[in-house]
């Protein structure tokens, strides 16, 4: 009979949830939309930070001497540069304003005898790194020309060896967004969970259940299990969307890493943390309106500070440290250990311990604060 009662409590909770028109969009459609839009938006950050992009350059040569022509050729064939033609009626300011180019170079007549210098103008909002790289490129190419060296890079190759390791910190757009917004949506479970609890408390249905011979722990389980299951389904769905749908829409790659089975214990713990958060909100709020505000504010603050909205790796050092107070940070890093770092489970375990502590703390606070009547 105990299991029958538990099953009925779970069934009731799911029916109520499924018939709430706001729940399904919040829990399932919102994260998919966020993954799509923010992956595309993050693409620029990712390209700038890792693979780099070519600088769109308008190059005009008024000097037709062999040296000037050679410089023009060297600049045009550089891997850093994508040369474009100046559109008719566009001066430099208009070029930058409309995003047609990010830099413009003018080689004046009399350049090779040193009478007039080469002129460079950058888009004022171009990343400082790109400006420095373009400046260094033009300087080295000009030096090659002045010193009569054919390829300065080949000449210095014996003195410089690059030993950069494979990126294991900055996630790709989908690697960032899929787990990030899944975690965010999982914590949003606090909204229907706390609202549902307070609505039942306010309309007396919860108290009415207590007038039957039903153990209070059974009622708590009946409230927790459906939301916990929804959390697991949310993550599974987001992963499916990340693997099978997003790469086709966004043209961005997404892979699970070498140890995809680690996702199971991580998700089990993250779901416990998010349902714990929901229970805590339900116990602290006095009305459904208050619960909704508390849950939304809490989730957004945790997401903003925890590296969900802005990748943790691009945050300033102080924010990186501050992020550690957010459970979403630990959850996200645990997922990135799987997607990005191919980490061993022992590496992930401390993050799961932090999340478990957060969940226990939430349940403890809820246990102290909850008023059933």
């Amino acid at each position: 009979m105990i299991f029958k009662k538990l099953k009925e409590l779970i069934r009731k909770e799911i029916l109520v949830l499924a018939r709430d028109r706001q729940t399904i969009p919040i829990l399932f459609i919102m994260p998919v939309a966020l993954i799509l839009f923010l992956s595309l938006a993050l693409q620029g950050v990712y390209v700038d930070k890792i693979s780099g992009r070519k600088i769109l350059l308008v190059l005009e040569n008024a000097s037709h001497t062999p040296k000037a022509v050679l410089l023009e050729k060297k600049i045009s064939t550089s891997k850093l540069i994508q040369r474009i033609e100046r559109p008719a009626g566009f001066d430099n300011d208009k070029l930058f304003e409309y995003g047609k180019a990010q830099a413009a170079i003018f080689i004046p007549e009399g350049f090779d005898d040193g009478a007039k210098p080469l002129q460079i103008q950058f888009d004022p909002v171009l990343d400082a790194g790109y400006k420095a790289a373009a400046r260094a490129l033009i300087t080295s190419l000009t030096a090659e020309l002045v010193m009569g060296i054919d390829d300065i890079e080949a000449l210095t190759s014996n003195f410089i060896i690059e030993k950069t390791k494979k990126n294991r910190d900055l996630p790709g757009p989908l690697q960032q967004s899929v787990p990030g917004w899944s975690i965010f949506a999982m914590f949003f479970i606090a909204i229907p969970m706390s609202i549902g609890f307070l609505r039942e408390k306010n309309d007396g249905t919860l108290q009415r259940i207590f007038t039957y011979p039903v153990n209070v722990h059974l009622i708590i389980l009946g409230k927790l299990i459906p939301y916990y299951l929804i959390n697991l389904i949310q993550f599974a769905l987001m992963i499916i969307v990340g693997i099978y749908i997003m790469p086709y829409i966004t043209n961005l790659p997404f892979a699970l890493g070498e140890h995809p089975w680690h996702l199971i214990p991580i998700t089990v713990v993250v779901a416990a943390a998010s349902t714990g958060f929901g229970v805590m909100v339900a116990s602290l709020a006095r009305s459904p309106e208050q619960a909704s505000a508390l849950a939304v504010t809490g989730a957004i603050l945790m997401g903003a500070s925890g590296g969900i909205m802005v990748p943790h790796v691009v945050m300033p050092l102080m924010m990186k440290k501050l992020a550690m107070i957010s459970p979403m940070y630990w959850a996200h890093q645990a997922y990135l250990d799987v997607f990005l770092r191919d980490a061993a489970f022992s590496f992930i375990l401390p993050k799961l311990a932090v999340l478990t502590l957060f969940a226990l703390l939430c349940f403890y606070i809820a246990g102290r604060k909850v008023k059933w009547m």
Partner: protein, 247 residues
């Protein structure tokens, strides 16, 4: 054996209040006693804030930490046997509005321990008794006030309780629904069910009930047979005063 026996109940919403010292306004109920015989309809009357709903919540085990004893058919009120013997229709309509009448009955029926077969049978019976059978599969959010009150009662009757506790069962309903509710109660009582009726509608209490307990400021101010009272409303006002009870 009494259907309900309450002796010396003292209760305060302030958990720090000393239960052994009755007095003052800290107490929602003070040394309160009453008993209901099997098959009796007992009116529990009192002005707003007198402690009627608190008493109902104590009987049904929603509130704990009281002094005194509450027994239902010889069992302590928190025992499973006692809880099963009670059918409770609270003052606010306490139903899941996202669910249909049938789904509401199912959840409360399972909580009461009814088997699937019995649940199905009783659900049909109580919906028929309360005139809601044709609306069984409609969500209760679409119900009128009267229909909700009747379903509130149907839930209380579902597991065939031996003691029915009704906290203002007809508040806010039209005369038709009220009449239907009272006809249902008469039928249940004729079948042997004891009923405790909290109401502010004096003529109905006088018409339906054989015993009355008058409660004010948490204490019994009168308990006796209804047939000894000529005009219940006049009697009520004489005993509880004509001043407004807004606190």
């Amino acid at each position: 054996m009494k259907a309900l026996e309450i002796s010396g109940i003292t209760f305060s919403y302030n958990p720090l209040a000393d239960k052994s010292v009755a007095g003052d306004f800290e107490y929602a109920l003070r040394d309160f006693s009453m008993s209901v015989d099997c098959g009796q309809i007992h009116a529990l009357l009192g002005p707003n804030g007198a402690g009627k709903t608190t008493l109902m919540r104590l009987i049904t085990g929603q509130l704990r930490g009281y002094g005194g004893d509450i027994n239902i058919y010889g069992h302590k009120n928190e025992d499973k046997e006692a809880l099963i013997a009670i059918g409770y229709a609270p003052q606010p309509v306490s139903l899941f509005t996202a669910l249909t009448a049938m789904e509401n009955l199912r959840i409360f029926g399972v909580m009461a321990g009814l088997s699937d077969e019995r649940l199905k049978e009783r659900s049909t019976e109580v919906l028929e008794e309360t005139g809601l059978l044709s609306y069984a599969k409609k969500r209760t959010a679409t119900y009128s006030g009267g229909m909700l009150r009747r379903l509130n009662l149907a839930v209380a009757l579902l597991h065939s309780p031996r003691l029915l506790l009704l906290d203002e069962p007809t508040v806010g309903v039209d005369p038709q629904s009220r009449h239907h509710i009272y006809e249902t109660l008469k039928k249940m009582n004729a079948a042997g069910m004891a009923i405790v009726l909290c109401t502010h509608i004096m003529d109905e209490a006088q018409r339906l009930c054989s015993r009355v307990t008058l409660l004010d400021k948490g204490a019994v101010i009168y308990s006796g047979d209804m047939n000894k009272i000529d005009n219940l409303e006049k009697f009520f006002l004489e005993r509880t005063g004509r001043g407004l009870r807004d606190e």
